[in-house]
Amino acid sequence: MLSNLNIHSLPEIERRSPTTGPLMDVDAASAFIASVVKPSGVAVPTVLMINLEGRFPSAPVIYELVVGLGRAVQSRSHGELALVFATPDPALGAVIRAIAQSQGLSLFLANSANELETAEPIGLLTAADLETLAVLQRIGGRASASTLAQAASLDHKAAGNRLNSLDQRQLVLRVDRARRQGHMYLDPRVATQAEEPSDPASSEFGLPAELRSDISALAAMQGREPAAVLAEAFNEFLEKHSGEMAKDLAEVAKMMQAGDKKGVAAYTSRHAARRARTQSKR
């Protein structure tokens, strides 16, 4: 049976940054766009976050970045991909907002690369768009048309139309499901770092990645602290694998009684390579 923690998946986030310092070269900006938006597209719903912290783009460069990336993402030819710019500079934020508005692009703007959840939707947005995104965020960032209809007191068709309209502009990411279930729509602001699957060794959570990505969303939905949900999930993991844990404990106890410190170290570092792979991603 599926745990209540791993029923759905969240979008993955890919953080990319141009080189630090002044950005004056439009050709370099074009090359950067080509390097982050591949023709093969994305296989899973993905949020592309462009981190401009510590970067100082000239007017032509910021125009190229916003319009080039915005159009590439909005063409929908790269799959379910949403775009977020991150900058703590209010002046640069205002310029990005103005370019998005004038060019008819829809995207998100965050104050920093670590503040995706509070990113602001920008571009040509109606009051209904903003309301729909706010409701979607309030209910945990994932909804089908019927869930949204219930949460926003709309009829099913109106909710479907609203989600479809946002999906056309990549302001929500769609997960196709069977007609009976209805498509699932994801708020890009609940995206989490892509992780290796089946890794019970993360430095952040120490849990299998398939559980970890859902913890923040579940905690938000339940109005609890992620740390409390994390501990509960960790305990669930130990219980679920109690047979394996019992075997391991017996072996480790034998090693300790025999003074085999190398054996104990080898046991507790059995996930070292996977943990290192996760830790080295930034």
Partner: protein, 241 residues
């Protein structure tokens, strides 16, 4: 002297560790990694400065290049001639010495253009190899401390029952309470899930307290007898005649 060297780390009393990236070891200090920290601290002035200046505060001072959020690098100086770039990875609690070079403004080999080139090519930050060594060193440190640290903590708790006793074992604090009811003794062990980080470490920890007992005998508890658990904390208890 506060703190202690262990394998590739200098473990500071403040809780973080100091380490040198493999790129810095090979290219800047001319050593093949992995290399024990204590060998380097005596051999290189910048490593000695690293230990002295990042011992209490993991970052601060002037930056190398513009501030870059969580990836900001900080300048390390020793006298007029030696410069380093350090980065604090708060996720794992490690300050890395990422680069070192001789400093003489305006010269072709000056430290800062070199550091900026490494930032631009993204080679300055630690790699998977560095994190793997970190994990292996930490596993070895935990194995060296267990089971003695657990037994020492248990002895304190038994000597003063119904009170919580805490100690750092591995990467995080562990709290133990021994409750005595008539002839039965119940030992509660509480730890932070985020700092313990891996189920294998939970198993090693429980085995260190009671090596002869089965995992199934450790019961889940939603509080310590002395206090509720803080968010992120997990508690197990075991009966002992």
């Amino acid at each position: 002297m506060p703190g202690a060297c262990h394998k590739g780390s200098f473990v500071c009393d403040a809780g973080h560790e100091l380490r040198i990236t493999s790129r810095c070891l090979r290219a800047d200090l001319k050593y093949e990694p992995p290399r024990d920290f204590d060998q380097l601290a005596d051999a290189h002035e910048i490593v000695d400065a690293f230990r002295v200046k990042r011992d209490v505060y993991p970052d601060g001072g002037k930056t190398v290049g513009p501030a870059n959020g969580d990836l900001t690098l900080y300048r390390l100086a020793k006298g007029d001639d030696h410069r380093g770039a350090t980065w604090f990875d708060a996720r794992v609690g490690v300050v890395w010495l990422c680069a070192e070079r001789f400093h003489r403004s305006g010269t072709a080999n000056d430290a800062f253009p070199y550091f900026h080139a490494l930032i631009k090519s993204r080679q300055i930050w630690p790699t998977r190899e560095d994190y793997e060594w970190l994990e292996l060193d930490r596993a070895e440190r935990l194995a060296e401390r267990l089971p003695e640290a657990a037994q020492e903590l248990l002895a304190h708790a038994r000597a003063n029952p119904n009170q919580e006793h805490r100690a750092v074992i591995g990467q995080g604090q562990v709290g133990v309470v021994v409750e005595i009811v008539e002839t039965l003794e119940e030992t509660y062990v509480a730890f932070s899930v985020a700092s313990i980080g891996d189920p294998t470490r939970v198993i090693a920890l429980l085995a260190a307290f009671y090596p002869g007992r089965d995992f199934g005998e450790w019961q889940y508890r939603n509080r310590l007898p002395t206090r509720p658990l803080v968010p992120g904390e997990l508690c197990r208890s075991i009966f002992h005649a």
